[in-house]
Amino acid sequence: MSRPVVPVANFDTQPFWDGCARGELLLQRCTACQAYRHPPSPICPHCLSDQHAWVAASGRGKVYTFVVVRETRARGWDKMVPYVVAVIELEEGPRMLTNLTSVAPEAVTIEMPVEVTFAELDGTTKLPLFQPR
């Protein structure tokens, strides 16, 4: 799958993308108050602790909301329409923005149960997408 934009990890997000490369969906979990968070952040938004662990998520969740992108002038993306941008509510609590795959845009519904699947982008980077389960 060729995409016009690939994620480039930064200091705060590198472990997440390393996990994806291994086929693992990782979430930050606060060591002090045990709250999960996403997207990654240097501190816990609940208790402000800067101590966290990266833990494997179940990879399961349900569609919270979505749009079907049917038209864009953005170079590269214009060749991919229609595609579904979805927000998934993960079993662990945090939400995650992604694309849905293996499903027709017309068949997508809010609350649809989904699971993670990893799409290889460029040999080193894998993107976490979701599909119906």
């Binding site: 934009v5 990890a9 200091f11 952040s41 240097p42 402000l48 979505f66 993306w77």
Partner: protein
């Protein structure tokens, strides 16, 4: 005028670790300095209701003060990005004092700094922050996709329809037809709206405000000085800012948002309620945002915005004329500045064919951050 000299103080100090090539993001340094300042002051984060910052140049982020508020887990009632380079750190102190003096907040956290030597990893592909890291690679490229996520959720929770979005587009176009300085004045029907193609479904083309070239400016002074000037003054009765989220996908709620807190603060200052408002100029980058704002501004109950905008209720002659100059949807984008000028023109009684007869109060919504940031103004023909 009473001097403010000696009436404000610095009560907490925080410094991040310093050095070269620390291998940490600018935001991580900001958050470290901020949490250390809170600890130093002995203040809980919930007592901070003001936040000023300058966007890090190593991790440039849109609406950065809001991003930091989200990462700190606070909901400030006053926040802003101060972008004056090396003068920002001192300038924030002026802004903090002004904001407290005005009553917008009581305790302001000011932070500035950057990771000037640790940019490498962030610079490789022009992808510079984790919002883009977790959005753009998934084809979430701009506003239609972002706001569409909220709109779809509203439709799911409350049964809101595309036709109801269309009623907003039709009202704005009708008003633009009466506005000489508007871009899109050709009449539009609900059928035209429904026949327009989907861009980011549920949004059709005519749900989206076009890009345009335009600007608006206003001059603010004291009511006392206003008396000597050429124009009838338009009084500032209520001012309020609200924050709920920096990133819509992770918002606590996608359908009750920053407009609520902003309007509550503005109403409280003005000692007015939605029932006292004669017209509304509501930020309408997308039709749906007007509907959401009407709910959170209290003109109808949550979930009833769809029914509220139907049957011409928001058109001139209706119960609450909305976007009397055509709004972003039909007048021009201008980052919402023409919503402010239009509200002021209406308060002067100078709107000609589109004048709301007898209008004495107007409410204005300034909005960004995909509904997570809102500023509400209540303007009046009289000083209340």
């Amino acid at each position: 005028m009473t001097s403010i000299s000696g009436r404000y103080a610095i009560v907490g100090i925080g410094e991040s670790d310093v050095g070269r090539h620390l291998g940490r993001s600018g935001m991580a340094l900001h958050l470290e300095a901020m949490t250390r300042a809170l600890t130093d002051a002995g203040l809980d984060k919930t007592s901070v209701d003001g936040l000023l910052t300058r966007p890090s140049r190593s991790d440039p982020q849109f609406n950065y003060s809001a991003v930091l508020a989200g990462r700190l887990g606070i909901q400030p009632t006053y926040f802003s990005d101060v972008a004056l380079g090396g003068a920002s750190s001192a300038s924030m102190i002026l802004d903090a004092v002004a904001a407290i003096e005005a009553g917008f907040c009581t305790t302001v956290l000011c932070v500035n700094g950057d990771a000037q030597t640790s940019r490498g990893a962030n610079r490789r592909a022009g992808l510079t922050n984790w919002i883009e890291d977790f959005e753009r690679p998934f084809g979430m490229l701009g506003a239609p996709e972002s706001y569409g996520l909220s709109a779809r959720r509203h439709m799911y929770e409350y049964g809101t329809t595309s036709e109801q979005f269309g009623a907003i587009a039709v009202a704005c176009r009708k008003h633009a037809g009466l506005t000489p300085n508007a871009t899109f004045r050709t009449p539009m029907t609900l059928m035209d709206h429904q026949a327009s193609r989907f861009v980011a479904e549920p949004f059709r083309l005519l749900d989206c405000c076009p890009v345009t070239d335009a600007a608006g400016a206003v001059i603010v002074t004291s009511a006392e000085r206003a008396r000597d000037l050429a124009q009838p003054p338009v009084f500032l009765l209520g001012l309020g800012q609200g924050f709920t989220h920096a990133d819509l996908p992770y918002a606590p709620s996608m359908t009750t948002v920053a407009m609520r807190g902003a309007s509550q603060r503005a109403y409280a200052m003005a000692k007015l309620g939605p029932e006292d408002i004669d017209l509304a100029e509501l930020y309408d980058c997308f039709t749906y945002v007007v509907l959401l704002t009407l709910e959170d501004y209290g003109f109808c109950k949550k979930g009833e915005g769809g029914a509220f905008v139907e049957d011409g209720r928001i058109e001139l002659g209706g119960a609450l004329p909305v976007n009397t100059g055509g709004g972003l949807l039909s007048q021009a984008h201008a980052s919402g500045s023409l919503l402010v000028t239009e509200a002021a023109i209406q308060m002067r009684g100078a709107a000609g064919a589109r004048q709301v007869a007898g209008a004495e109060t107007a409410i204005v919504s300034g909005q960004c951050g995909v509904t997570g940031i809102n500023v509400c103004l209540i303007l009046g023909k009289h000083p209340n």
